[in-house]
């Protein structure tokens, strides 16, 4: 397998993994929102906390992590753009 295929495969794996995190934090937690409201975080019912803050923090970390990992992957495979 050449390095392009490998790079793309790794990119897809990372993308898929992060999309799964995004999906769980948003839709799985949202689906069970009524069941998850019984315990509290920082004084908030958990489902309210997730929709108002928790999920947002997950998104920020997720996007930041993607940028960091992809930059590393680019350099590992020598894929970074040349300065033009």
């Amino acid at each position: 397998m050449d390095k392009y295929q490998q790079y793309w495969r790794q990119n897809l794996r990372l993308t898929g993994l992060l999309l799964a995190v995004w999906f769980v934090a948003t839709f799985v937690v949202g689906w069970f929102a009524r069941e998850l409201q019984s315990f509290t975080v920082l004084g908030f019912p958990f489902s309210f906390f997730m929709a108002a803050q928790g999920a947002l923090l997950v998104y920020v970390v997720l996007v930041g992590y993607y940028a960091y990992r992809m930059d590393k992957l680019d350099r590992e495979f020598g894929m970074q753009e040349s300065d033009h």
Binding site: Y4, Y7, W8, N11, T15, L18, L19, W22, T26, F27, G30, W31, A33, R34, Q37, T40, V41, L42, G43, F44, P45, S47, F48, F49, A51, A52, Q53, A55, L56, L57, Y59, V60, L62, V63, G64, Y66, A67, M70, D71, D74, G78, M79, Q80, E81, S82, D83, H84
Partner: protein
Amino acid sequence: MGASVQSHFVSQLKRYYAIYTGGVIGFIVLLSILEQMGVPNKVLGYIFLGVTVSMYAGIGILSRTSDVSEYYVAGRRVPAIFNGMATAADWMSAASFIGLAGTLYLSGYDGLAFVLGWTGGYCLVALLLAPYLRKFGHYTIPDFLGARYGGSLPRSIGVFAAILCSFTYVIAQIYGVGLIVSRFTGLDFGVGVFVGLGSILVCSFLGGMRAVTWTQVAQYVILIVAYLIPVIWLSVKHTGNPVPQVAYGYVLQQVTARENVLNDAATPEGAREAEVRAIFKQQRIVDEDKLKALEEGGANYLDAEREKRLHAVELLRAQHDADPKEIAAAENELAAFPKDVTSARNTWRAAVETDKAKSSPVIAHAEPFAGADEETRDNKRKNFLALVMCLMVGTAALPHILMRFYTTPSVKEARMSVFWSLLFICLLYITAPALAVLAKYDVYTLLVGSSFSELPSWVSAWAAVDKTLMSVTDINKDGIVQLAEITIGGDLIMLATPEIAGMPYVITALVAAGGLAAALSTADGLMLTIANTLSHDVYYKMIDPRAPTRRRLIISKSLLLMVAVLAAYITSFKPGDILFLVGAAFSLAASAFFPALALGIFWKRANKMGAVIGMVSGLGTCMVYMFITYPFFGVNAPLWWDINPISAGIFGMPVGFIGVIIGSLLTNAPSKEIQAMVDHVRYPNMRLDSFLENADHK
């Protein structure tokens, strides 16, 4: 461009915007000193709006340009962090700045669909689109569709969809501009629209994307300062903690405790609430009877009723000792009486809805999908998740946002700039739910239970401005305010926060300036998208590919002017529901663009036929569903699986995906050149010289 030139540019930018931010804070301090010296509020408001708007215009004039790359993509040298700020300002519209906290106040947990949808969409932008579009490196979104799928048909559909959703969205923004300008300066709504429009035009007309970018950065600073200051102040007032996002968890508990008291008829306060609710229950029966009589009697019934009221006025006027107040009340009733059957139906239906809401117990703020039975709750959950999905995918498909990622210097910076955008956006979206809860606490504890003779000053002030925003009526005549006697319009929450928190008038003016910045920056980005699409994709790519640079820019600028005037003209009719317009734009974008864009990058096999079928069927499904279900259009067909028309994209998106896949599989795989282009987009270092030569205009 050399690395050292770029780093010099970045440090210069940082210095300029640091000085600018200092200047903004100095300006606020200066105005509060003026306020202390007794300068009247109205003058302060004028100064505030005048100075900020002319500052944006000034940046626009300084960034004027006649270079194509500068005009369309700001020279592709906007550093990640600044592109993040510009995207955030581009993104956060009047609906976010003014409307969101109110929506959250009114609908509690269920309103959080907007918070989730408008932030989570950036995950899709980051993972699926932004880096690849940057690598593609052209000017517009239809550009990508045209190059990826070949031929002018996919491009034309892209142009149509881009204009459709941007135009729907821009009307909502100009509406917001008109509302803010007219409210804070006392100018007429129509004049407000054109004043706001003037400042949008100065900016984008002269400098295109370059001017819009640097103005949006400046507007972000104003809008975020304007949002945070009053909420922090309110948080300190209620909790002593200057970090509202942390502090409001405990305020939320107190709000929940208050809700329980007000819903419990065994407590004295709960009993008084029950009394008011009973009155509304009676009223509901009366209003429903009226509606029923209207459906049966039609215009005849309406005329007879109007006749009765006219008669009552005449009778009162004929009496010599009649109370002038009574006459005025009867005259008002006659004047407010609906003119025709349609308006009567709408007004009375709204009245029944109000009665229904006011006669039922307080809805718990923190409870997800509250409802009387399992079916209602399931329904709410379904619509909540569908709306979240539409808003998220719509975020990842709105051309004015995606276009911003063409402006960064590299793929790496494009990825980083999504991160910064999301961070800057989250700052506001994490604060909005806090504001809603803090304002609710204020209303539930300080306003409810207070006496009508000594209402807080902000209540009477806003009730005098606009009855739909704030009104309190002593329904059960006990002289004490009950929750069911208060009517609050969503927009009030943000607009009145400075007064609720007891802050000086300068902060109220600052909030107005922030709302204006939010509306202007979004309108800027949208109008530029429409004008660029028309001039670049339609004129340059399809009509006259040999057009010289100068003519292309002149065309673009005159189109901008026409779009602006047309948008303002339509807005002056006040086309109603802003939230629906905004939601519709997202559903339309999600159905039309997302499948073709995402599959264009991740599925090499996708071809022209697939794209055409996918985009047309997705967009078509979405438009048809909106048309047959949204009451405005008058068809009123039954809903599919109880999904509200605002989330029409939930049907359009899968149809779009299936369309792309089926259409592609039925026809031949795309050509070698196009497959090579997909590779070029996927790998940051890959150069596609022949491809670049064709595409990069000269």
